[in-house]
């Protein structure tokens, strides 16, 4: 590698030869090393400048706060856009009879789908973690003193079976694709974290709902038996359940165009 350039045939005995060959190789490789280092520094700089989240928790939590803020803003945007849609829908038809029918149909569908806020009589179920502590009890018993996603699901299912027409948990309207899911110390409802107490509101015949909830062996029965303070059922003359605030535009599901479908009057 450039060794014979400026030296007579290499002999290890002569120190000056040795020195010269050393110098040439050294310079060549120093240049290569310099290039390597430059490339490396440049790439590291690039990493620092691009917004790859750092592996430290401060950075990540900061990112999290920003994203959370953005999600709230987006939710507000969705709300205002949906308001716009309903305004437009309401402003257009009114004089035309056919339009009126369609609008009524649409409103009914939207109410059923949970896209409008609704009011009416019903029950409020409040679930909370037990204050009692059983330090000596097995883990399974200790787990029961905490309200889990399964418990909320059981109550909601019971309310649906008993004919509840609109249900919300902590003001999150439950719609067809709502999920109630455990995520560490919180329960995610409609993909928003919720903490105890969980307030389930359901519109329907209060008496029927109440009776259905209190069936022996049911969710209420079990929880009440564990600790009476964990669950409370209250009747309400007038409940207001908010509209679903999440996104409603489907990304994957496409309607199938068939004439044989029932309910074809609401075709789009």
């Amino acid at each position: 590698m450039g060794l014979p350039l400026n030296s007579p045939p290499h002999t290890a005995a002569s120190p000056s030869d040795q020195q010269r060959s050393w110098a040439v190789s050294l310079c060549t490789l120093c240049a290569i090393l310099g290039a390597l280092l430059a490339l490396s520094f440049k790439t590291q700089n690039q990493i620092r400048q691009s917004n790859v989240p750092a592996a430290n928790y401060e950075g990540l939590s900061y990112e999290y706060l920003i994203l959370k803020k953005k999600a709230t803003d987006d939710e507000r945007t969705i709300g205002s856009l949906q308001q716009n849609i309903s305004d437009l829908e309401n402003s257009a038809p009114s004089q035309n009879k056919q339009f009126q029918v369609l609008t009524d149909d649409l409103n009914r569908a939207k109410t059923l789908a949970g896209l409008t806020a609704v009011k009416g009589p019903g029950v409020t179920v409040t679930l909370n973690d037990s204050k009692k502590r059983f330090p000596d009890a097995p883990l399974a018993v200790q787990m029961i003193t905490i309200v889990h996603d399964v418990d909320i699901n059981q109550f909601v299912n019971e309310l649906k079976a008993a004919g509840a027409e609109a249900i919300s948990v902590n003001d999150q309207r439950l719609v067809a694709n709502s999920a109630i899911r455990c995520a560490g110390p919180t329960v995610y409802i409609n993909n928003t974290p919720q903490t105890p107490p969980y307030v389930i509101q359901a519109i329907g015949d209060a008496k029927t709902l109440d009776t259905a909830l209190r069936l022996p062996g049911g969710a209420f029965d079990q929880m009440h038996g564990m600790d009476a303070t964990m669950v409370r059922i209250a009747h309400a003359e007038k409940l207001i359940i908010p509209a679903y605030a999440g996104a409603t535009q489907p990304r994957y599901a496409q309607p199938v165009e068939t004439n044989a479908r029932s309910g074809a009057d609401n075709k789009n």
Binding site: W22, A23, S25, L26, L29, G34, L37, T43
Partner: protein, 144 residues
């Protein structure tokens, strides 16, 4: 000569640093850093060999090339295997850099001490030639 090496290193550095398109994917950055570390290690190994008078160009060049590629390849292989082999390379190379540097430093200091003692012996010999002529024990003097 040190300055010559540093200058060529700087030239290589500047050549890449000021070239706009000379970058690599961020995913491969860690391999590149390791290759650079292996290069530094080889360079310092060469420095040590040079001060010991055992420098051999072909060993140096092949060592530089092979170690650089091997370090990067080991890191890549480690990523594929799910083992942090890059850490092993960093520990080995880093340790060797320290060892070689300390040995080089010692030898350089010894070398300086030898030089100064030789000079002193020559001065003394010039003053009183009959006393120091053919006296081979410079070592004894240098360890005062």
């Amino acid at each position: 000569m040190i300055w010559l090496a540093l200058a060529s290193g700087l030239i290589g550095f500047a050549a890449i640093w000021f070239t706009k398109g000379a970058t690599i994917p961020i995913a491969d950055a860690s391999y590149l850093s390791l290759a650079a570390l292996a290069g530094i290690d080889s360079l310092i190994g060469g420095l040590r060999a040079g001060t010991e008078g055992k420098f051999r160009g072909n060993v140096f060049v092949s060592g530089f090339v092979v170690n650089t590629l091997l370090a990067a390849f080991l890191a890549y292989l480690g990523d594929r295997l799910g083992q942090n082999l890059a850490l092993a390379a960093v520990v080995a190379l880093g340790g060797r850099i320290f060892v070689n540097l300390s040995i080089t430093r010692r030898q350089w200091l010894d070398h300086r001490a030898d030089l100064s003692s030789t000079r002193r012996a020559a001065q003394l010999a010039a003053k009183s030639p009959q006393q120091y002529a053919g006296e081979p024990t410079m070592d004894g003097e240098s360890r005062n």
